[in-house]
Symmetry: C2
Subunit: 330 residues, 2 copies
């Protein structure tokens, strides 16, 4: 295991120290060392909070900033933050207008957010939630409530953060973020596994010459293991999974997000995006904006995810707003 | 080899197509498919051009944009762009005020830039050059002209691009960029090799449990192969190589850039940066600004580089100017 670390038990705390120093113009620490908040949160707005396990950089703390999330709760690697961390995130983000907690559909996160929301209520803080479930491959369409949240969360945070920055009420922020994720579908293809620093060996396997379609960000099994394909066929496979599920159809205007899983060279993501763009054009789907890069990773996994969000006028305006966070600046 | 590509011979062209589509608000193509230019170059300024082999994303095309480079010539993977590509880069960037070509010290680039400068002269375009040589480990200090350019180039482009954007003359842009690189020192530590897509297997080796100190971006041999160390000792080793060479001393104000080599998880870069920051503080060196992330990579190599630049008032102003490129937005 060729890693840059000290004691693996300290990697999250040490990472946070470096992160806060490097981005002191955007973020700052709080009394809870596992809660990161945005610097200079504008007064009187609805709070936007997220949180999740570590190892997915820029997610989750990389999306705290101007017009994005106000705070993030930080968990161990691939493990939910505690309820206490979510609660403290709510507290630093709340300004009496309530808090929108926008997070991904994982059992640990669900449980801890639920507890934190109850504790917040007892302290007079209203928290409403949106649970991202954009990963098409993780459950059939009629069981959408079982689907995981993946890179579509980035678009949910962008939309929710922008709506709150524009002065939206808690219900308006929740409605915009819910619409964002309802309009969003994702799929991932894994090419290599990753190794948790404290474990020292991969906890799942992807054989050389194969790829796992629909893999989750923690190596959750996909829907198919098949021979490694070229970029054209990989793109086609991803598009053919994502488009029919929503469904995205001719005339739709969309945002496309292609994220690497960590170790895949960024040049390959552009090759994949070029193929995806051609396929969308052939189907008469118009790309309003594209994000290509490492937006939601899994340590040093190789592979990529495709996320597509259908726009309406409101979503387009919110997506186009400026943003300043480590993971997304525009 | 678990890669996302079609025919490896086409990977650079296909990557460029995807890159131009994804960042059409920042860059655009030119008549030469191997030259990328900034969109909306302000009128009447000195041109700033760079270029280099592919596989180092965001370098080189990722640093074309507002207040950064105006154009970049694109080579095959780990191979210099042609003289014709550099020349066409000069042509699209020239507005009669001359062109500053800011590039790295590699034999292919030196040869092709030299030819392109001569050809440009015959066409009435004045081009002056700065050759980055910030990699301390690549030659002794008394042979600085032999040293390679590595991640310090990012700071050279930032400074040169900002000086040109402020209306600096060609000589002023060249002087600022030269000062930037003269004030900059870097070192890299490699943890795993990378594989050229057209080759299919690593062309050098780094054994598990070891690390190569001073390795180049193309696997050029370093100064020492030793046992893999923890982040603290790795940081100390890097700082001990970089600081004495300039030398950076107590009271200096610096920019610190920690770049991953590609596949090292970004969280580990923050762990490394935290250690580096503590060491600099102990020595009384003040960090004005830090960049931590994948700024100059080598496909899927694991490892990191440390770059330190000493600031004066001019460099500080130029570093702090806004910038908008795929690789650097501030």
């Amino acid at each position: 295991m060729q890693r840059i670390m000290n004691n693996p038990d300290d990697i999250v705390d040490e990472m946070l120290k470096g992160f806060l120093k490097a981005h002191s113009d955007i973020v700052e620490g709080t009394e809870n060392p596992r809660v990161v908040k945005a610097k200079n949160i504008p007064e009187g707005k609805v709070g936007v909070v997220t949180g999740g396990g570590s190892g997915h950089k820029p997610a989750f703390i990389g999306y705290v900033g101007e017009n994005m999330c106000d705070a993030a709760a930080v968990g161990e690697i691939c493990s939910s933050p505690t309820a206490a961390a979510f609660l403290d995130g709510f507290k630093v983000a709340d300004q009496g207008k309530g808090v929108a907690c926008l997070y991904g559909n994982y059992s640990g996160d669900n449980m801890n957010v639920k507890m934190a929301v109850k504790m917040a209520k007892r302290q007079g803080i209203t928290v409403k939630t949106v649970v991202a479930n954009d990963d098409v491959a993780s459950a059939p369409k009629d069981q959408r409530e079982k689907r995981r949240g993946v890179a579509g969360e980035v678009l949910m945070w962008k939309v929710g953060g922008a709506k709150a920055a524009k002065g939206g009420s808690l219900d308006e922020v929740i409605a915009a973020a819910q619409k964002a994720i309802d309009n969003t579908r994702s799929v991932g293809i894994g090419l290599t596994p990753c190794t948790l620093p404290a474990v020292g060996h991969p906890n799942f396997e992807i054989k050389d010459g194969t790829m796992e379609v629909g893999i989750g960000h923690h190596g959750e099994p996909g829907i198919e293991v098949c021979e490694l394909e070229d970029a054209h066929h990989m793109a086609k496979r991803m598009v053919d999974i994502v488009l029919p599920d929503y469904p995205f159809v001719e005339g739709d205007e969309v945002v496309v997000l292609v994220s690497g899983l960590g170790a895949t060279p960024v040049m390959e993501l552009y090759v994949l995006y070029d193929e995806i763009d051609q396929l969308l054009k052939e189907k008469g789907i118009k790309t309003h904006k594209a994000y290509v890069g490492n937006y939601f990773t899994s340590l040093e996994m190789m592979g990529a995810t495709l996320t597509i969000m259908k726009l309406d006028d409101e979503l387009k305006e919110l997506i186009d707003m400026p943003a300043k966070s480590m993971g997304l600046k525009q």
